[in-house]
């Protein structure tokens, strides 16, 4: 049984290598950002070791760089990570028979990437938390090490070059956002967030505009999608009535 677990962990690890490699690109950007934000190497690595969440860590160091308070940073991180609830809820039924301790441990390693690999594996093969753990450990290693490498690059970048490399963060986020924008409500979300964040960053004290724009824009997207659904139902209703 032990060796079966080990085998599953290794399988999960190996299947996640391609995503691990792409994770390292984010990792490099994170490391560069952390260096520019004035974190030291231990803090940079500690964040990857204990927080272990890509978009959140980049957000946190960006907010440190612009001088946000700790409380607003922690809240923002929490909000960004709310999507984990959805991923956990979708994997949980497959892992019903695993022990609570094991689930407490493996869930720490859950990321967008390991979730994606594991979920698709569970459609084909009997689900195990060992596989999920192996997949998560892969991302953990790639993410942690690329962050450290990025940190040293970050320290080599001169002030003049930093105008260019600061854009790496913007570009990385654009690379994350664009694939998420597949529907009209998602377009609404992005536009509303853009407007609120610009106005908010000018007029709202501190960095609370990030949370405010995040919540209002999500709500705008939600409303848009409800309205579109209602309209569709109405149209359907009219058609059936006419027939």
């Amino acid at each position: 049984m032990k060796s079966e677990n080990a085998k599953q962990t290794i399988n999960g690890f190996i299947d996640t290598v391609p995503l691990g490699i792409s994770t390292s690109i984010y990792g490099l950007v994170y490391g560069v950002m952390a260096a520019n934000a004035g974190l030291n190497i231990f803090e940079t690595i500690a964040m990857s070791v204990f927080v272990f969440a890509g978009a959140s860590q980049m957000t946190a160091v960006q907010m440190i760089a612009i001088g946000s308070g700790a409380l607003s940073i922690i809240l923002t991180v929490f909000i960004i990570n709310l999507r984990h609830f959805l991923m956990a809820a979708s994997l949980a039924p497959y892992l019903k028979n695993e022990s609570v301790t094991k689930k407490m441990i493996t869930s720490f390693f859950m990321t967008d990437e390991s979730y994606a690999v594991t979920y698709s594996q569970f459609q084909k093969e009997p689900p195990t938390s060992s596989y999920f753990l192996g997949s998560g450990l892969n991302i953990y290693l790639f993410w942690g090490s690329s962050g450290a490498v990025g940190y040293f690059f970050g320290n080599l970048i001169s002030a003049q070059m930093s105008y260019v490399f600061d854009f790496a963060f913007v570009a990385a986020f654009i690379g994350m956002i664009v694939p998420m924008v597949k529907t009209k409500p998602a377009v609404v979300t992005v536009l509303v967030s853009a407007v609120i964040s610009i106005v908010g960053s000018l007029y709202i004290p501190g960095k609370w505009y990030i949370i405010i724009a995040g919540l209002f824009a999500s709500f705008a997207g939600f409303l848009a999608s409800e309205l579109i659904e209602k309209k569709k139902q109405k149209e359907k209703g009219v058609i059936t009535y006419e027939y």
Binding site: M47, A60, L86, A92, V170, P185, V190, Y209, G214
Partner: protein, 106 residues
Amino acid sequence: MNTEIILLIFGAAIATYLTRFPLMIFSGRGDISKKTVKFMSFIAPAVLTSLIVPIIFIREGSVNLSLGNLYIPAALITVLAAYYSRNMLISVITGISTVGLLMLLF
């Protein structure tokens, strides 16, 4: 080591873990409503957008729409690169090289 940063790291770590384990353990006892799922699906694009848009448009405390703001054309080109490639590396490299190139040209 900066104490505030250490506290922040642990706070962020706890906040993150609190989103990871609960539904893994307590699932099946009442699912999340469809509306909540829908709302939450918009959170990631909403928050990520609010982080970068001010960086693109605001320089020294006010909105800068002038040609001198190289981040605007670079962001547009990066959006296209991300849309067509769906690839992180290509998006980042396209973005950085666009800013670098524009800086050399202007």
